[in-house]
Structures are given as C-alpha cells and as structure tokens.
C-alpha cells in the first residue's frame, strides 16, 4: 500500500493522450449527434398512431435497449463484415454500437416527454387547423424537449463515457492510448488514473453548464 506516484512518463507522453482525447471527442460527437438525433425520430415514431411507424420503432428500441453496447460493438466489428461483406473499421463499429444503443434509450426519453404533454395541447393545435406534424413540431416538442432536457443531459454524459468501449476494437481513443503508455512504461496506476482525471476534467464544466441552461429555460416559463 505504499505506491510511489510518478507521473513523469505520463507527462512525457502527453501527445499520445492528446491524440486519444481527440479520438474520444470524435466518436462522442458522432454518437451523441446520431444517438440523440435519431432517438428523437424513433421516439416520435414510437408515439405514432400508424402501426407501420410504431411497430418497427418499438422493435428497434427493444432490441438495442436489451443488448449490451459492448457486444454490439464487437458484433459490428467481427460478425457484420462476415455476414454482409461490408468492411467495418473500428470507428464505424464503435459509432454504430453506441449510437444505436443511445437512440433506443433516448427514444424512450423523448416518448415519455411527448406523453407528459396535456392532451389539451394537441386539441388546441388541432382546433386551429394544424396538421398532426405541425402540432407536434410547433406545440408539443418545444415543451416536451424542455422537460426532458435533464434526462437527455444524463444520456449525453453516459455517451461520453461509453466512448471508452471503442477501445475493445482498438479504436484510438483515450483509454486505448493510456493502455499503450501503461504497457510501455509499466505504470498502469498512473495511466488509468490519468484517464479518469481527463474524463472528469472534461465533463465537470459541461455538466455545470447544462445546469445553468436548465435554470435559464425554467425561468422563461
């Protein structure tokens, strides 16, 4: 229990970690956009009256919510190319796995948000002559999105951390690069502690920012 902390090798290799962080941010940007954006589409379909929209989106949600992301990433990397003949690089495999999973989870958040809106709001839009989609876009979603913002923020944080799973298919991201440093310098304690620190330092201000955003939005009501 008397480990002598030594970050010299980490500092000397900061560029390796910087490359990793860039990879992390890249996969995060892709997955958070696809995941939360696509989730909105799936969530709206989940609520639709037409079975042609509702049933496939329901199946989608159930499949991707009830299977582990790690398995999805590995599956897309190793199984998908063999089954389809389509080449899948590590970035694509990770992005697919994390995005689809995030879509499934956020779809449920959006659906809950839409369902939380009083039926009277739909009626008011309808009575003005608005079509279903107009009411959804202009009346229902602005209020629903505001309501589910905290839950979406949570999802976003989760997605950021999930990016480390991409290391399993050797995608170059923070964890993967830290492992590289650890293996070469025999300093796993410092390396992985640094990874944790990097994630905290990036996330903490962002989370504080979203609190401020939520407060501002609440004030406007």
């Amino acid at each position: 229990m008397n480990h002598a902390w030594d970050f010299a090798a980490i500092l000397a290799n900061w560029q390796v970690l910087w490359v990793g962080l860039q990879g992390t941010l890249t996969v995060f940007a892709a997955t958070v956009t696809l995941g939360l954006g696509g989730g909105l589409l799936v969530g709206v379909c989940r609520y639709a009256k037409m079975p042609l929209l509702r049933l496939p989106s329901m199946a989608f949600v159930e499949v991707f919510r009830n299977t582990p992301v790690l398995v999805q990433i590995i599956w897309f990397y190793y199984a998908f190319p063999i089954l389809t003949g389509v080449e899948v690089n590590p970035f694509l495999a990770a992005t697919l796995g994390i995005s689809l999973n995030t879509m499934a989870f956020s779809a449920e958040i959006y659906r809950a948000g839409i369902q939380s809106i009083e039926p009277g709001q739909w009626e008011a839009g309808k009575a003005l002559g608005m079509a279903y989609q107009q009411t959804l876009r202009r009346i229902i979603l602005p209020v629903a999105l505001k309501r589910v913002l905290p839950a979406l923020t949570n999802r976003g944080i989760e997605v950021f951390k999930m990016s480390t799973l991409a290391s399993v298919v050797a995608y170059i991201e923070t964890l993967n690069q830290a492992k590289l440093i650890a293996d070469l310098n025999f300093n796993p304690i410092e390396s992985y502690t640094t990874v944790a620190l990097i994630f905290f330092v990036v996330l903490y201000p962002v989370v504080q920012g979203t609190y401020i955003l939520e407060r501002m939005l609440r004030k406007s009501e």
Partner: protein
C-alpha cells in the same frame, strides 16, 4: 340557404356507448345557440363533432350549405386535409384554455395564423393585437400564459380563435374551470361577440347567459334534443318534466329576488 351550420341525424358512438342518437340542428348566421343538459347528455360531444374533434359515427354536417366529407357506400368518408381546412373556419374555446405555455400571449394568437393560414409575421401580429384589444387585454401581449389569471387566459384563448377569422365559434364550458369572480369577464366578452354578429354555439351551465344572450336554447337529454326554442320560453316554461328537473337542480340555492 341561410344556415351557417346544419346537422342532419348525427350519431356518435364510443364502442357500445351511444352518446348522440340522432341530432338535427340548424344554426343561422349571426345566431347564438346555447346547448344545455346534465353532464353525460352529449352536449360537449355534439360540439366536438361540429369541428370534427370527434368523428361522427353517422349523419351529415353542412357548413355554409356545403356537405363536409364525401359519401361512400352509404356512409361518410373524411379526409384529414379537408378537416384541417374546415377547422380553420371554426373557432373553438376549451374549458381548460389550452394556451401554449412556451409562447407569449401575442405568439399564441399568431401561431395558427402563421403556421396554418400562412400569413406573414407582421400581418399576423397586427391581427393578434387587434383581437387582444377586442378582448380587452392589449397590455398583456408580451406576457407568458402562466402569468395570467384564469379569466385572462380564457379571453386570450378567445382572441386566438378569433384571429383565424372563423365563420363560427364553439365554446365548450369555457367558464367551468374559472373562479366565480372571473366568470363575468369571460361571459361579457362572449356577449360582446354575440352583439357583433358572430355565429356561436355555446355549451355552458350559465343559465343567466343562456337567458340573456342566446337566441335559442337546445336542451339535450340522453343523446337527443328534448326541447328547443327561445330562452325566455324554454327556461321559463319548460315543456318536459326532465327539463323542469334540470332547471330546479340549477336554482336550488338561488338568492331571493
């Protein structure tokens, strides 16, 4: 044809429950018709069938002498696009206001004009201010609905419906959710509309309003129109036992004159 609205043999069923069992009704242009009846008699459903918030199970509805929907195999078929267009010509005000909470009062009144009627922003804003003045709330244009009293919310809801330039206005128990002291301001606004010649169908429990403002009163019971006529006659000399009971129930604890 002078009728603004004509309803022929309207039926509405929810599953096994028959709510409307053959309603015939005409409303002339400029007329204010009040629908009375105990809860569950079908008066709100009738009102909601007029702008197709509920789809009738059978029967026909004509606006300006034109049949709504197409006849198909002895029944009626309605296209959503036609119904949307129809609803722009029929204003509706709800018991619970249903203002849009994320929009200011002015934006609430502009919304339908811009999104549905495709009016330009400045034209819609002018129209909205005009209607706000009409309901006496010009100073509330930039408030959010949460900051208004119930009576003010309801008057904004009326302005929102009026801004669409409807041919006819439907009022669904619009004072039922209000504190008693706020009922008056809303009824006054409605009376003013009647006097301006607006065609109105009003579901209400305010017998005073029916008596003083309505041109005609319809009394619904078990999905049919049991009595109708001028308010002075129907409310003072009811022809049926059922209507007498209804009126007695409403005036049990009236203040002595």
């Amino acid at each position: 044809m002078n009728d603004m609205l004509r309803i022929d043999n309207l039926h509405k069923r929810f599953g096994d429950l028959t709510v409307l069992a053959g309603i015939d009704m005409r409303v002339a242009a400029g007329e204010t018709v009040v629908l009375l009846g105990s809860s569950g008699c079908g008066k709100s459903t009738l009102l909601r069938c007029i702008n197709f918030m509920e789809t009738p199970s059978a029967g026909r509805i004509y606006l300006h002498g034109r049949l709504v929907g197409e006849q198909r195999n002895g029944g009626m078929r309605y296209r959503e696009r036609e119904l949307c267009k129809l609803r722009t010509r029929i204003g509706m005000v709800f018991q619970h206001f249903n203002l849009f909470p994320h929009m200011t009062v002015l934006q609430n009144i502009m919304e339908g004009q811009v999104t549905v009627l495709k009016r330009g922003a400045s034209e819609a804003a002018n129209k909205a201010r005009e209607q706000l003045a009409r309901v006496g709330l010009s100073d509330k244009a930039s408030e959010y609905p949460a900051r208004l009293s119930g009576g003010q919310k309801q008057r904004v809801a009326i302005a929102r419906a009026l801004a669409m330039d409807p041919d006819i206005m439907l009022f669904d128990e619009v004072t039922s959710a209000l504190d008693p002291e706020l009922v008056g301001e809303v009824l006054k606004t409605m009376r003013q509309l009647t006097e301006e010649g607006m065609t109105m169908v009003v579901v209400t429990h305010e017998l005073g309003f029916a008596y003083h403002v309505a041109n005609r009163v319809l009394f619904l019971d078990q999905g049919v129109i049991l009595e109708q006529g001028e308010p002075q006659q129907v409310l003072k000399q009811p022809a049926t036992q059922r209507m007498r009971e209804f009126l007695d129930g409403h005036s049990l604890f009236k203040l002595p004159d």
